[in-house]
């Protein structure tokens, strides 16, 4: 079946109405960098497509001490903003120039591992998501968004409208480790957000991707870090714990074994960036 409908709503409300009217099975298209390859290969053959590109969700603004990022904001735009350096670094590490011009913040949250590098940074930054549906809008922590490989808490008829980010209080560091320097899928990606009080860790966020069914927080490592003196021993301990929390897989990029080993190495290097940065 070739596509019969291509909807281009001009507001988020119109998008939700169209989804409600046309029911399940509508493919929601953001930048197209994940969905279109599957369509080109004939793996995905949607009858109805709803594109969000013109739905007015390309926004970047301050709201009550948060940054409110519209889900259709391009990765290029995120790569240019300087307010949240970790988010800038994460966006710049994705794909090449043309892909970043097309790919969106919201769409990246639906990218299956090893893709989805922006979500790692968003997890470490305690982002919240605004999901809009016919019944209204709801706000959830990004941590609660992922439920499994390719599954999320997004309900039938809902769209991801906005990402809310508190400005980070801690020191952040981000490492995407791939087989090449650029335009590469990750072996493992690590994002850390560490709040220090003197030499003691007051709060910690450590998020990983490409080593599990979806981007996730390494909570055992976080818990071990909190309250500890932020030194070599604490970092080594957190790296080993994070390795235990990972559920790596084998693909064309790397083997399960290699990914697991690299979790410990890259977590350590990422946390050392924070100590090294003073």
């Amino acid at each position: 079946m070739t596509a019969q409908y291509y909807f281009q709503p001009t507001t988020s409300g119109e998008a939700v109405d169209l989804l409600d009217k046309h029911g399940p099975g509508v493919l929601v298209l953001a930048g197209g960098t994940i969905a279109m390859p599957l369509i080109n290969e004939g793996i995905s053959m949607p009858e109805k497509v709803l594109s969000l590109r013109k739905a007015g969700l390309n926004t970047f603004q301050h709201k009550n001490g948060n940054l409110a990022i519209g889900s259709m904001t391009s990765l290029t735009q995120i790569g240019k903003q300087t307010e949240i350096p970790m988010l800038q670094e994460a966006a710049q590490a994705i794909g090449g120039w043309a892909i970043r011009n097309m790919g969106t913040v919201g769409g990246n949250l639906f990218a299956p591992p090893p893709a989805g590098d922006l979500a790692v940074a968003l997890l470490a930054l305690d982002a919240e998501l605004i999901l809009a549906g016919k019944g209204g809008k709801r706000r959830i922590a990004i941590e609660d968004f992922y439920t499994g490989f390719l599954t999320t808490d997004l309900r039938e008829g809902e769209i991801l409208e906005q990402i809310l980010l508190p400005l980070p209080k801690g020191k952040t560091a981000y490492t995407k480790f791939g087989r090449r320097h650029a335009n590469t899928p990750a072996v493992v990606t690590v994002a850390a957000n560490i709040l220090l009080d003197g030499g003691t860790v007051k709060d910690a966020r450590l998020a990983l991707n490409a080593v599990g069914p979806h981007p996730f927080r390494a909570k055992k490592a976080e818990t071990a870090l909190i309250g500890s003196t932020f030194n070599t021993a604490a970092i080594a301990n957190a790296s080993i714990l994070a390795m235990g929390e990972a559920q790596p897989f084998t693909d064309a990029v790397a083997s399960e074994w290699y990914r697991r080993k690299m979790v410990a190495v890259i977590v350590r290097r990422t946390l050392e960036k924070i100590t090294g940065g003073g």
Binding site: Y6, Q8, V49, W97
Partner: protein
């Protein structure tokens, strides 16, 4: 819903095409309009050989449903040559042997055009960064990097 008419600006001239839903810009350019400089490589957004400029920004035409470019300005390699004269970027690619099989060249040149429009004197590293989404399996990239640096000098009058 049947096919629909989409109008856009192609290389400075208005065009109208009738498209089925979800048809990519790449297919329309090559199969309907005969603009075959834009190549069809991986059709996954992975190789860059289909790169065109939309409002001056590089995009993968294989991932872009034509409906999305209604009213937008699209530039393909054909749009760079004026009166049969090669564009300075094309001349630089030719003279610096930045072409072997030529398949990646249209995409490489479109990215180069966007880069030099936005950053007339890029550093070597900025050139490399701009090219990361475009694969070349022949040249090893070095002649392409040198050609873009050379094109920058030509366009800046040196």
């Amino acid at each position: 819903m049947a096919s629909r008419v989409v109008s856009f600006i192609l290389n400075g001239k208005p065009v109208e095409v009738i498209v089925k839903p979800l048809t990519t810009l790449q297919r329309i350019l090559r199969e309907q309009l005969g603009y075959t400089a834009t190549k069809s490589g991986c059709r996954q957004g992975g190789c860059g050989s289909c790169t065109v400029l939309v409002n001056g920004q590089p995009m993968m035409s294989c991932l872009l449903p034509v409906e999305e470019i209604e009213g937008q300005a699209v530039t393909t390699l054909e749009g760079l040559t004026e009166n049969g004269q090669l564009h300075p970027i094309q001349e630089a690619f030719f003279e610096k042997f930045a072409i072997q099989c030529g398949y990646c060249t249209p995409g490489m040149i479109m990215v180069s055009k966007a880069l030099l429009d936005q950053n007339p004197m890029p550093t070597r590293n900025e050139i490399i960064q701009a090219l990361t989404g475009n694969y070349c399996r022949c040249t090893g990239y070095e002649p392409i990097i040198l050609a873009i640096a050379d094109a920058s000098r030509r366009l800046n009058g040196n």
